[in-house]
């Protein structure tokens, strides 16, 4: 899922100064599950920002709170998100994708992000999310024992470990496991260490988005 972090309240307050009516818009997708931008967080943000201490030179805005299943789908927003009357700005608790779709749908209404989108990850243990995937467009998990060196190695090395690996940890710190040691251990347990005999050559990073934004279309999904 996409994981995000709520921005500091003073930063959020600064972004909505001057607007009299603000819609705080939660997203029912990934950010609900990672406890950053769902309906509960949207109500928390509206309640916190309604305090006058954030707005020393003006009245706090009037807040309305709504949450929609996903903010990242244009037609869903158009059909099912009627804007409250008088809305002057939207404070979106979606990931960066959702914020941009909302901004497209309700142009020219200002749409401000309440989260900083941080990574695509998963939950290894309750309440903890860790980065797992960089969306590189050319998955190599089949040959690395299900451990992604693109996302989990600080250098995204295709062949490793590097000289900075020490006692199973990355040179960046003892709290960061060396991804390539994890790859080795996993393949060793699987009896498939021969997969490491292959030296991976230069990669086509255009698939990772370095040739501009990527687009996919699937046939059979009719448009209304």
């Amino acid at each position: 899922m996409i994981v995000g972090d709520l921005k500091p309240l003073d930063e959020l307050a600064a972004s909505i100064v001057g607007f009299a009516r603000v819609l705080v818009l939660g997203c029912g997708g990934c950010v609900t599950v990672c406890r950053a931008g769902g309906d509960a967080e949207a109500h928390d943000v509206a309640r916190e920002l309604a305090h006058p201490r954030w707005f020393p030179r003006s009245e706090p805005p009037l807040f309305e709170v709504r949450t929609i299943e996903r903010q990242c789908e244009n037609d869903l927003l158009r059909a099912f998100l009627p804007l409250p009357e008088g809305t002057q700005a939207i404070l979106s608790l979606a990931c960066g994708a959702g914020v941009q779709i909302v901004a497209d749908v309700f142009e020219p209404l200002p749409v401000l992000p309440a989260l900083s989108t941080t990574f695509m990850g998963g939950s290894d243990e309750p309440g903890v999310w860790r980065e797992k995937c960089k969306g590189c467009g050319d998955c190599l998990l089949a040959s690395t024992g299900g451990v992604c060196p693109i996302a989990l190695c600080a250098k995204s090395l295709l062949n490793g470990p590097c000289g900075g690996s020490h006692d199973g940890h990355c040179e960046l710190g003892p709290d960061i496991p060396c991804a390539w040691v994890r790859v080795y251990r996993r393949l060793e347990a699987q009896g498939r260490l021969e997969l490491l005999d292959e030296v991976r050559g230069t990669r086509d990073w255009r698939k990772a988005g370095y040739r501009g934004p990527r687009r996919r279309s699937r046939t059979g999904v009719a448009l209304r």
Binding site: I68, E69, D75, V221, A222, L223, R224
Partner: protein, 127 residues
């Protein structure tokens, strides 16, 4: 009551069934009747049914808004002074063996008031 609802415009073409990526829709043909079926536990609420319906019959707003289902109804204990809800009658049952005595059913405010009243010195008792 199903959250997946269709309007009168539904003609039973099964475009929604055939396109549902979560296999949450099905149809049953019995005798001279076709019945459309929906499984909320499988439903990913992706909106594909709503998008593909050629009749625009899928009322997806009911799935987005939904409603509250009653799951269980239990007897409630309230503060005996002000009536504030405290806990269900079943909750203390599991605690009885571990407590010397159960606290009287009072909210925080009235428990504090009663304790203060119990501690208060009798009138004229201090010199």
């Amino acid at each position: 009551m199903s959250y997946f609802r269709v309007s009168e415009a539904c003609n039973g073409c099964l475009a929604c069934v055939q396109n549902c990526p979560a296999l949450a829709l099905d149809a049953r043909d019995e005798g001279d009747r076709r019945t459309l079926l929906h499984n909320m536990a499988r439903c990913a609420r992706c909106g594909t049914c709503w998008r593909v319906c050629p009749q625009h019959a899928v009322e997806f707003q009911h799935i987005l808004a939904s409603s509250w289902d009653e799951v269980v109804v239990l007897p409630l204990v309230r503060c005996e002074v002000c009536g504030e809800p405290l806990h269900t009658a079943k909750m203390p049952a599991g605690l009885e063996p571990r407590l010397a005595e159960l606290a009287p059913p009072l909210c925080d405010h009235h428990r504090a008031a009663r304790q203060a009243a119990q501690l208060r010195l009798p009138a004229g008792g201090a010199s």
